[in-house]
């Protein structure tokens, strides 16, 4: 073992092993932290239609595995899709070239936690500061409605013209409010991007 190159190689291996151990610990503590906080699904990154479809599979398996009843699973799935598609349509953080592409790609995060028989869906993405006020008013209004009023408004919106600013049917938030067992919660926080605020939404199923 007097060959200096062999010594060097061994030294490099040792360093790599140490690093691998540290990385592994890093990931393990991250996973433990998520588990302690009752996280069953978490994703942060770019959202596109195909990424959503793949995640939809993962979410279905996961909520089935944790034993959610099928009406709960359906509501969770519905709210998950609405949140994820909102990110694709409305996040202010575009993937650089997605403007030119047929399929939009935008950045955000989703998280599903469960405590007892309750499920909590969270999502977050930056939005233009100018759009925050309108969104706040919409959500504050939804929070004042009873379940019957939510259903009534859903029915009315279903039969009315689509609002101009909507890329869907203007029914996404109402659909989430309908599926949730508590009023939707939301928050606008600071964003590192100029002219943006971080929009966070929480639905309890």
């Amino acid at each position: 073992m007097n060959d200096p190159r062999a010594m060097e190689a061994r030294a490099t291996n040792t360093t790599n092993d140490d690093m691998n151990t540290r990385n592994c610990e890093h990931l393990q503590s991250f996973c433990q932290c998520a588990e302690q906080r009752d996280v069953i699904f978490y994703y942060v990154g770019y959202f596109s239609q195909s990424i959503i479809a793949a995640m939809a599979d993962a979410v279905k398996l996961r909520v089935e595995y944790v034993g959610a009843a099928s009406p709960t699973r359906r509501k969770l799935f519905s709210s998950f899709i609405e949140m994820a598609q909102n990110i694709v349509h409305y996040s202010a953080d575009h993937y650089p070239n997605s403007d030119r592409a047929e399929h939009e790609i935008r950045h955000g995060s989703v998280c599903i936690c469960t405590v007892g028989d309750r499920f909590y869906l969270h999502c977050a993405n930056p939005i233009q500061e100018d759009n925050a006020q309108r969104l706040r008013e919409k959500l504050e209004h939804l929070r004042t409605l009873t379940n019957d009023e939510i259903r009534r408004e859903y029915k009315e919106t279903l039969r009315s013209d689509t609002p101009e600013e909507s890329k869907g049917a203007g029914l996404g938030l109402l659909t989430m409010a309908r599926d949730a067992s508590e009023p939707l919660e939301f928050e606008f926080g600071p964003s590192s991007r100029p002219g943006n605020v971080m929009f966070c939404l929480k639905a309890t199923i």
């Binding site: 509501k75 519905s78 279903l158 049917a169």
Partner: protein
């Protein structure tokens, strides 16, 4: 005219419109990225078929959607609206609306359709396990 068949994908349903047999079917999950474009093409083909035929040959529509997203709901309303018009003009149209026994959301959406489109013969069908 040509039948319309679109194979299912992860986020869009199978569309099997057999215009020659007057049997239309939708099956699967629907959360396409651009709901207006996806459903728009289907509704256009349906309208084309409805305009071309005036015989009193009954039309059967079978819908078995396990899930559709909020932006698909309005487009579905437009689709059933077109069928309802045809039914009002004298063509018998039957809508078989399939849903799981414990799927209240899907059951209730069927009831909405039943209310809004009274010319359709609406049949709520529970999917057998």
């Amino acid at each position: 005219m040509n039948n319309l068949f679109i194979a299912a994908t992860a986020s869009s349903p199978e569309v099997d419109f057999r215009f020659d047999e007057h049997r239309l079917s939708l099956k699967g999950e629907a959360y396409p990225e651009h709901a207006a474009a996806f459903w728009g093409d289907i509704i256009a083909a349906l309208r084309d078929y409805l305009e071309r035929r005036d015989a009193a040959q009954p039309i059967t529509v079978q819908v078995s959607l396990a899930y559709f997203n909020s932006s698909s709901t309005k487009m579905l309303f437009a689709l059933f609206g077109a069928l309802n018009e045809k039914a009002r003009a004298g063509t018998p149209v039957t809508l078989d609306w399939f849903h799981d026994a414990d799927d209240d959301t899907m059951f209730e959406f069927g009831q909405e359709l039943h209310e809004d489109f009274p010319a359709l013969t609406f049949r709520s069908q529970v999917i057998e396990e």
